[in-house]
Amino acid sequence: MSTYLLRRLFQALVLLLIVSAVGFSILHLAPGGPLSQFAAGGEMTQADLDRIARDMGLDRPLPVQYAEWLWHMAQGDWGRSYRDQQPVLHIIVAHLGATLELMLTSTLIAMALGSWIGILGAMRRYSLFDSLATIGAMIAVSIPTFWFGLVVIWLFSVTLGWLPAGNRYTVGDGSWLNQLHHLIAPSMVLALVSTAVWSRYMRSSMLDVINQDYIRTARSKGIPERRILFRHTVRNALLPMITIAGLQLPTLLSGALVTETIFTWPGMGRLFLDSINYRDYPVVMGILMFTAVLVLLGSLVADLLYGLADPRIRLA
């Protein structure tokens, strides 16, 4: 078990190195740069810009800049934002809460609702419910998030006035009821697609299990249908879902770019987008590495959980 963990850890380190190198290169290949915002005013001379570049270390060759960033990173120094000189790690931590709140809510809704729809659809395959769920999932997946988000705002905020159009809470009102009120629209928008996706996974996993020989065996023992459904069918159908849930983990903390932007939600997704627009290299790299670690962690956690849930798999 510990050798397994060590091996996984080593693989993760190599992967992180590759991700950081590729990310760094692409980021610097993008046109513009941190200096373009200073140049935009038109008041600075080329000499001023060169001096700023030298101060920021941007005049050196790219490999040197990367090596320096890596060296600091290895020591736990994530660097400082170009925008406000705040430490990158502080900025990330400050945006985590909002993202976690939104993503956890929508993911829980999606898993609960999606599993239920998937199980019911598989049990009554080709029924009216199953057909509607299939068509509904198709539509939900096809709807672009930015459009659906705007429709929700137009309908529930502008026309009906039931829900706030954005932000995490009303300034000056810190009550949890107010926060919950603000949470409804964005989590609904986010849950739409993931509920659809989750229900499809669950349905096909259920159908795989329903046709297994051991379900017929269970039926031949004359035990109640409910028990066959939950202890024999759902129990086995949930196994592959662990992997899918593990892949969801990074999005819990890396946030949703489009939804957070539409609903001016102060989370990681919006931070990422803003940082890219400002060419705030340290913050973008920080978020990139943070997300990469989460992806690796998510798949590791999923594998460990799988080992616990499926007796056939013992990690060695």
Binding site: R216, S220, P224, H232, N236, R312
Partner: protein, 343 residues
């Protein structure tokens, strides 16, 4: 109705099972009738697709639900309390209370027929808990007894094993323990040894015979292996293309098979004393099982039959005729094909 002998456990009359397919109703089983008595072993023999497994699933009503699968006929199960249950007419809850209790089934592939995420103990205890109302601990105790009964060493330790931790033979023993947990009057074994090594096959057959002698249960043994049939059956029913084509006690069937198909089957069994005797080749039945959606007119075996006579065999489906005491055959030419008649 036939006057039923008091020790008749299962009586099947005119059982027909059809599957709905895009190409029409596929008749998997047609007009099958037979009965099994207490302590008796009936072997159901036939090629793949002959309808033998579907027949057994139909008896337990484990075939797919109604619109996809139609089951007609009459299946009567007599339980030790003397009651007769009309299985095809029973409401599902009553049917469920008989399944796993009065009648049980052992399946072909012990690896896929056991749930991979539950222990052997839990899976054996499950039926006992529901049919006998035992608590979890008592049911596990019963499971250990059963494991011992089927010859698994260290039964208490094995309770907490998962199916993948047992060998193929052990798994099939566990399956048998599961089926026997409520002392059924009828055991259906669907090719229980096909997936096993030859040496393990012999052990499992021996075990089943031994258990049958102890419990006097009726056994329906489904197989395509005639060697196994000779070993364990009291009576044999040969099926072809969904129909019974010959039915007889085991000795007359092996000594004097009357249906050309049965004769072909017996000739195609490799025998040690034939090897190299006169350079004879092992006989095979030419051709394949007919397409169930487009069966040949008349006798379904006619296209492959060496005694096939055009105009006679393909005119109509031959009836299942009594050709002697307790020996039925479905062939219009059986009497002229008798060895005495030919001589």
């Amino acid at each position: 109705m036939f006057p039923a002998p008091s020790d008749e456990v299962l009586s099947v009359r005119n059982l027909s099972i059809g599957f709905r397919t895009p190409g029409g109703i596929l008749p998997a089983v047609q007009d099958v009738s037979f009965s099994v008595r207490r302590g008796e072993t009936l072997a159901l023999v036939g090629e793949s697709g002959s309808g033998k497994s579907i027949t057994s699933l139909g008896i337990l009503r484990l075939t797919p639900p109604a619109p996809f699968c139609q089951v007609r006929g009459e299946v009567i199960l007599r339980t030790p309390d003397g009651r007769a249950h009309d299985l095809l007419a029973l409401p599902e809850p009553e049917m469920r209370s008989l399944r796993g209790d009065a009648m049980a089934m052992v399946f072909q592939e012990p690896m896929t027929s056991l749930n991979p995420v539950h222990t052997i103990g839990e899976q054996i205890a499950e039926a006992v808990r529901f049919h006998r109302g035992l608590g979890k601990r008592a049911a596990l105790g019963r499971a250990a007894e059963l494991l011992e009964l089927v010859g698994i060493p260290n039964p208490h330790r094995r309770l907490s094993n998962y199916p993948h931790q047992l060998s193929g033979g052990m798994r099939q023993r566990a399956m048998i323990a599961m089926a026997l947990s409520c002392e059924p009057s009828l055991l259906i074994a669907d090719e229980p040894t096909t997936a096993l090594d030859v040496t393990i096959q012999a052990q499992i057959l021996e075990l089943l015979q031994e258990l049958q002698q102890k419990t006097r249960m009726a056994v329906i043994f489904i197989t395509h292996n005639l060697g196994v049939v000779a070993e364990i059956a009291d009576r044999v029913m040969v099926m072809y293309a969904g129909r019974v084509v010959e039915q007889a006690p085991v000795v007359p069937l092996f000594k004097a098979p009357r249906m050309p198909y049965t004769q072909g089957l017996l000739r195609s069994v490799p025998r040690l004393d034939w090897a190299g005797r006169r350079g004879e080749k092992l006989a095979a039945i030419p051709g394949n099982v007919p397409d169930a959606l487009a069966p040949p007119s008349g006798c379904a075996f006619a296209p492959r039959c060496e005694h096939h006579r055009p105009g006679l065999c393909d005119a109509a489906v031959p009836p299942l005729e009594a050709s002697g005491a307790d020996h039925d055959v479905r062939c219009v030419r059986w009497s002229e094909l008798l060895p005495e008649a030919a001589a």
